[in-house]
Symmetry: C2
Subunit: 208 residues, 2 copies
DNA sequence: CATTTTATGTTACTGTTTTCACAATAACTC
DNA sequence: GAGTTATTGTGAAAACAGTAACATAAAATG
């Protein structure tokens, strides 16, 4: 599953709208939103059009009602509990960010690690052994998980998660995980993100 | 700047080829690579074709020479020194990953933070105040930086980096940074990555 | 209240990416 | 070494995404 850019843009519009609202604005134009989100005003209107979102001729969009529509579109009427497997450097960084994730209606409900020395509560949420996964996932209707274990263990952890009913996965391990069709998987390879930047820098030099 | 998916795929092929090599293989077919990288064999061949990379009819691709070509394409004949600004949770996680980044020819040479309590060497590389940025960047030919400061400070840090000659930025702060055309910027919003997964899960339920 | 202004919403266009199909050809078989 | 097989390489087709143009309509103006 590759996440479409229009979905990412709509989520970005939502974040920008929140900031506009905080600043006391009540209406925005496609031009303002595009500027804040780094896209053209036409792109903003096109994205809204695709999802049947309409504003007012000449008067732009009312921020509160636009936010309501986007919040409904993204199921943000409630907070989505998720779990993390792998409480190493990346897992801890994410765990410590929990109070900010909740502003996007995401909450890390529990974490899991194979290393018993990680089993404690210092990161805000409990850290359990992997044997607790089935119980916690099923008892709390959890459908989404973050994998931040070493690449060597990622497929095994992934399989386990799918077995217990996880349907959406954000994977930080630098390996392409094999999942059944019904599972939504989002691969995030930070090394690659940096390498790609460096590639474009060199390319610009070459074609000068 | 939006990073094209063919570049990300080529980088992924490179990683997969490395694993094949470790496992003792000397040749691969487009089918093997596609399978490992999660794409179709046609996509693999097309990507190679786009960059003038050729293999052998019936005998596939020789791993070592393919790796050489990709390493050259991505400037991996040398290690690229980069810096991080913001040594909080995310910055530290990245810093601790330095010995792994170097396998992708990326090395975090120095880190910067406005908070004096972060100025030490416990994370492997030195952590300096921001006033040291111009000196370190220019003396070490550094062109790429990671921003992991709070959103409120990100644009200011970004401007400073561009002023001292940084040309490529990976930004973790949940804000769309304004940069001149010649700067390559890669926005990575982790909240959005999770929200997008949740969106697709709900969408699948809706259209069931 | 007629006219002008200005921003939306959509259609048509343009460009890009992916998939498909198959000719070309190197390796293998007998 | 002729015939068969398997895999590449690419051009054409299809699908997708982004840009541009403009008709439409609400608001502002006077
Ligand atoms: N830290 C980074 O900045 C960074 C950057 C790029 C990629 N990554 C990737 O993210 C993943 C996590 O990175 P990290 O730096 O946090 O690694 P880490 O080694 O610090 O942490 C890994 C954690 O996973 C746990 N673990 C190992 N095997 C497990 C298993 N089978 N089940 C459950 N837990 C297990 C370990 O106990 C450890 O706590 C890795 O795949 C890494 O390649 C991290
Ligand atoms: N930690 C996560 O998992 C996570 C998830 C999503 C997004 N992010 C984003 O990544 C960024 C960093 O997150 P974090 O969790 O590491 O935050 P953090 O608060 O732990 O760390 C921020 C660091 O930046 C430093 N800083 C603040 N202002 C600065 C300035 N002007 N110049 C230099 N340094 C400055 C602080 O001293 C601190 O060390 C934030 O923008 C955050 O929204 C983080």
């Amino acid at each position: 599953m590759i996440i479409k850019s229009n979905i990412k843009r709509l989520l970005q519009y939502r974040i920008c709208l929140g900031k506009f609202k905080e600043l006391g604005f009540t209406r925005v134009y496609s031009y303002n939103l595009g500027n804040a989100a780094g896209v053209s005003p036409e792109q903003v209107r096109k994205d809204f059009s695709t999802y049947g979102i309409t504003g007012n001729k000449k008067a732009g969009y009312e921020i509160s009602s636009l936010l309501e529509i986007l919040n409904r579109l993204f199921g943000m009427d409630k907070t989505h509990n998720i779990i993390i497997v792998g409480m190493g450097n990346m897992g801890r960084a994410l765990a410590n960010y929990n109070e900010r994730f909740i502003t996007q209606h995401v909450y890390i409900y529990a974490a899991f690690d194979m290393d018993p020395s990680k089993h404690n509560k210092t990161s805000g949420m409990p850290v359990f052994p992997l044997s607790k996964i089935p119980d916690i996932v099923s008892k709390n209707d959890i459908t989404t998980a973050i994998i931040s274990v070493p690449a060597i263990a990622a497929q095994e952890v992934c399989n386990l998660l799918i077995d217990v009913g996880i349907k959406g996965i954000l994977n930080f391990a630098p390996i392409v995980l094999k999942v059944p069709d019904h599972v939504v998987i989002n691969h995030l390879n930070l090394s690659t993100e940096i390498d790609a930047i460096i590639y474009y820098l060199n390319e610009k030099l070459d074609t000068r």
